[in-house]
Amino acid sequence: MTKHKRTIRLFDPALVGTAAKQSFIKLNPRLMIRNPVMFTVEIATAVMLAVCIWQMVTGNMSQGELWYNITIFVILFITVLFANFAEGIAEARGKAQAESLRRTREDTPAKKVSGSSITIVSSSQLRKNDLFICEASDLIPMDGEIVEGIATIDESAITGESAPVIREAGGDKSSVTGGTKVLSDRIKVRVTTEPGESFLDKMIALVEGASRQKTPNEIALTILLAAFTLIFIIVCVTLKPFADYANTPITIAAFVSLFVCLIPTTIGGLLSAIGIAGMDRALRANVIAKSGKAVETAGDVDVLLLDKTGTITIGNRKATNFYPANGVDKTTFIEACALSSIADQTPEGKSIIELANVNVKNFDTNNARFIEFTAETRSSGVDLAGGRRIRKGAFDSIKNIVVKAGNSFPDETALQVNTISSNGGTPLVVCENEKVLGVIELQDIIKPGIQERFERLRKMGVKTVMVTGDNPLTAKYIAEKAGVDDFIAEAKPEDKMNYIRKEQQAGKLVAMMGDGTNDAPALAQADVGVSMNSGTQAAKEAGNMVDLDNDPTKLIEVVEIGKQLLITRGTLTTFSIANDVAKYFAIVPALFIASIPALQSLNIMRLDSPESAILSAIIFNALIIPILIPLALKGVQYRPIGASALLRRNLLVYGLGGIIAPFIGIKLIDMLLGLFM
């Protein structure tokens, strides 16, 4: 199996072009007002422009030299553009990502069923509830649900997974996605969405910003940033009378510069980019989120409900051991096991042959009669021409056969059966001619690496719950071995629902993954419900994310993406606000140095002149935005090292770093400016 991840370079030239164009389009105040911090910068820029024009018209030099004011205006203008560019590039990347998915569903011919006839129409003419037919090597024109037939389908266009999958009417794997290709057979499909309303279309709209709604944490953060902006408005407005009192004239340019430097422009400029990038990262992981809130909520999840099969264990049970009964030769026993499984097409049967490591073609099976497994006999086997009657099956069914024939069931084999059961395995007893030969042990195979992932989740504070149809004993054993925290054994769909409700009542956020229609209520109830793309339409509607890969372990990735989103916001806010300390030390002495020479002592960076100090500060302020764009888009990495340790780390890097970095940056810019001024 190969997996080709679609990757887009961080600054793809085409995307940069679109983003650059967007930076200007977004200057429209009606768009800017969505971002209060940058909106105030835009106003400040307009004020500087007015000052420059006024100066050019009147020739009045009371507001400082013209070139200086123009320089300030240009830098402020660039600051706004940088912020718009950050949003633009995030949007462009998200859109490119989504487009590459959407491209798979360009207009394709569809075989529409109308009454009894089939007409070829364009896929764009298909409406909800229309029926169409797909045959081998057809592209599926629209998302839909199979109503008739079974087919193998190549979904690599969507998932990047090259192995074909089977989809069939009824059951939990009845959904097909537009753009995927039918490899064999013929299916009749009912269209489930109107054109332009598929999940992918919704996701693209979210990324484009048309319907992007701020998430609760984003709203709270915007409020906090607005409060900081207001504090700095107060600082700047009150500075005027303070300066009058101190007999210090302060130019408009200086006021505007101080203000723009202080307000959290860094995070203000990057905030929406961070949000879009979060959704984009989800999309990159082949998860379609129906809202930004869903991604954010994923980061908060406390409980994760995971199906055992496919998530924790590899699909099916496998034979792991042969235990011959006393006095039975091991080779004979293994041979009997293999013989009984030749016709057994179940994965368990195949695994027995695999473990026996024999070439079945060497067996003489002429005239052999194979006995299929039935729910009634609960055993299967073979009657060979030579008169050998080999049976394998559950302990009690074989015991029945043996005891009925008047033979005794060996005690040591019964003991072995018990041991296997209590170790979470499934014993299969094999007998020949009504005499017990031994036991085969079948075990669930836990996916390699899954323990580490659960350990990681535990460190994140996420509790994992395994859902399985197994009996409690087996479930407990596997749960312990895989390292999940809890399990629901002999689970019925309503058990999942009840478990979710119980956890939610205790204040926990629950995430689950599901595919079947009977999962739909639980998916809707869960705070984060991820449905598999192969799942039924009902399941897909109920959840708030769709996983295109149908990968049950995807939830773990989704949780990390959610956390990363919040962390990126938090750390960049901290960084942005911490920056202000250095900016104060650059600008405040510069403002008052003329009338209060003693304040030179506050100029701890020893900046060249008041003018260069102010310029350096606002240049730094502008440059830091594009410098941080890659971080905003990639996200600050989440480390499961415990909340306190993570806080210490981020506080050190982004808090302390945020205080120190601008001291260095501003000093360097000042030294550079010194060469020209």
């Binding site: 906090l224 107060i234 303070f242 406390d302 405040v588």
Partner: protein, 571 residues
């Protein structure tokens, strides 16, 4: 270490020694457990019966605040009327006049809000009747109001999910009967035995050694001084407050009064730990507050004991430190400690003139009031600190990748909005009104008011700016001390500081109760390994950082133009 500095260390350590058991006791009182003050039960029951109060009735946050605000409103009207008409009331042996309406407005508000901004001198501005039934009365009830509100906060933190923040009247009455009254009696007795007057007679006439006769004001002062310190009110019986030899006769009374200033605010931090059963939380909060407090003390003691460089330049030895505006019987170090203690706790009583502090110490006490949460006023200090916690919780929650939560409750947009507004409010009141005053001085010094703005400031330049900044910072923090070079008994200052006092008191105490009310109403989320623990030292550092950054960002330019400019010019 010289004896004076050692004295300050011992005073602080002794305060901690007393505060810990007191905190435990306070927690028991409000939990309703048996304490040795149970003999007050009948008294409390009597009050409740007379007022028709059911002390066990539960209140949600809105009801709690409504009860608090109604009774406060009543006191405001009562106090103003008494002050205006005090000359017509008994117990006025010195024949002092009634207060003007604007001064009465300022005074009534000042004491109602647990402040002591005094634009009058106690000797001539009040009668014994108003000293007792307005000033002392308000000193008790305003302190009790703060404690009652804090217990509501405790309840919100303690319970998993609740509407019930307890009963305001119950906590209010018990704060007085079981905490403030017993402690005040002890302190008053110590003061009285050391020479503080407790007499209802009028001015005394004494003949000095030089043969002059001097009129000495007196009165039933000891009890009032006890509660002014314990309740972080700070209003002096006499105009010069605890620098007055009768308010604070000797080093012992000075030590007792310093301890009284800090005692209940620190004890309440410990009480938090005992009451909500999270001792670690209390420890972390205590540690954060103490770190800043000790740093501030160290700076002030250093600069005050070192003396003034301008005097050094004259070649005059300053072995006792900078003694301008200080009392010889107390010494520079003791005044330095007091200056930090009184500004940390929004007390506002002084034992030396803050106006005469060296520039750095002056800056520190202003900064201390800007933060206003290092122990803080009784009850309200922790409420202020809680706002910083909410902001710290929000920021750090994001930084660890989880929707922020405090004590199992999610902190969301509404709570952040309230906390952000309160942070904003202080900056707005302090800087806005200082700017207004600075504007008047700079642009309209000769405007035709009774006291012209040009005549407000006794000191020009940076120090004059510091005086105005100090006045509004002190008002906003409900502290009440002043850089007394400012001519503040006139309509401009009486009214504007009155407004700042009112807003600066009530909004910042309503907000935390509203936040905790909203939080406590939310679903409780049990702790998981992913939860950021708010009772960890890491979170303490985060809170400390928030306090420093928010304060620095809001006030650095103002501090630069006042104390810092003065400091750099002098040193």
């Amino acid at each position: 270490m010289n004896g004076e500095i050692l004295g300050t260390v011992l005073i602080f350590l002794f305060t901690l020694l007393l505060a810990y058991p007191l905190g435990k006791y306070i927690a028991r009182v409000f939990k309703g457990e048996r304490t040795f003050t149970n003999f007050m039960n009948p008294v409390e029951r009597f009050f409740f019966r007379v007022c028709g109060i059911n002390p066990n009735e539960s209140m949600n946050w809105k009801q709690f605040l409504k009860a608090m605000l109604t009774i406060n409103m009543l006191w405001l009207v009562y106090a103003m009327l008494l002050l205006i008409f005090q000359h017509k009331l008994p117990m006025n042996p010195d024949g002092n006049p009634g207060q003007t309406p604007d001064l009465a407005f300022n005074t009534a508000i000042s004491f109602l809000v647990n402040c002591n901004l005094q634009h009058y001198s106690g000797e001539s501005g009040l009668t014994y009747f108003t000293q007792l039934f307005v000033i002392t009365f308000l000193q008790f009830v305003s302190a009790a109001t703060g404690i009652a509100l804090l217990v509501a906060l405790f309840n919100g933190i303690k319970e998993k999910t609740t509407q019930n923040l307890g009963n305001f009247w119950n906590y209010f009455v018990k704060s007085i009967t079981r905490i403030l009254l017993p402690l005040s009696i002890i302190v008053a007795v110590i003061l009285a035995f050391n020479g503080t007057p407790t007499s209802y007679a009028g001015k005394d006439t004494i003949t000095t050694l030089q043969g002059d006769t001097v009129q000495v004001s007196r009165g039933p002062a000891a009890g009032m001084i006890a509660i002014k310190q314990l309740g972080t009110n700070g209003g002096g019986w006499f105009g010069v407050n605890s620098a007055h030899p009768l308010e604070n006769p000797n080093y012992i009374t000075n030590a007792v009064e310093t301890i009284s200033i800090l005692l209940i605010p620190i004890a309440l931090v410990f009480a938090l730990g005992f009451y909500v059963n999270r001792k670690k939380l209390a420890k972390v909060i205590f540690a954060v507050m103490t770190i800043l407090f000790v740093i501030f003390c160290a700076i002030n003691i250093y600069y005050e004991t070192k003396g003034n460089p301008a005097i050094d330049k004259l070649g005059i030895a300053q072995t006792t430190g900078s003694m301008e505006g200080k009392e010889v019987r107390l010494g520079a170090a003791a005044t330095a400690l007091w200056s930090v203690a009184t500004t940390s706790t929004s007390n506002g009583s002084v034992n030396g003139m803050h106006d005469s502090l060296t520039p750095m110490s002056g800056g520190v006490v202003i900064l201390d009031m800007m933060i206003n949460a290092l122990y803080g006023g009784v009850g309200v200090g922790l409420l202020n600190y809680f706002i910083f916690i909410i902001i710290a919780v929000f920021m750090s929650g994001l930084m660890v990748g989880r929707t922020p939560e405090f004590m199992g409750h999610k902190v969301e947009a509404r709570e952040v909005k309230i906390a952000a507004l309160i942070t904003l409010l202080s900056a707005f009141l302090i800087k806005g009104f200082t700017a207004l005053a600075a504007y008047m001085v700079a642009h309209h010094p000769e405007i035709g008011w009774a006291v012209k703005p040009g005549a407000w400031l006794n000191n020009p330049s940076y120090h004059g700016f510091s005086e105005m900044l100090y006045e509004y910072t002190s008002s906003n923090a409900n502290n009440g001390s002043g850089f007394e070079g400012l001519g503040d008994n006139n309509i401009f200052w009486n009214v504007t500081t009155g407004i700042v006092l009112l807003i600066g008191r009530f909004l910042p105490i309503i907000a935390p109760i509203a936040i905790i009310g909203l939080l406590a109403n939310k679903k409780f989320i049990p702790e998981s390994p992913g939860t950021l623990r708010t009772d960890s030292y890491t979170f303490g550092v985060m809170t400390l950082a928030v306090i420093i950054i928010v304060t620095a960002l809001s006030y650095l330019p103002a501090l630069a133009l006042g104390p810092l400019a003065e400091y750099f010019s002098l040193y």
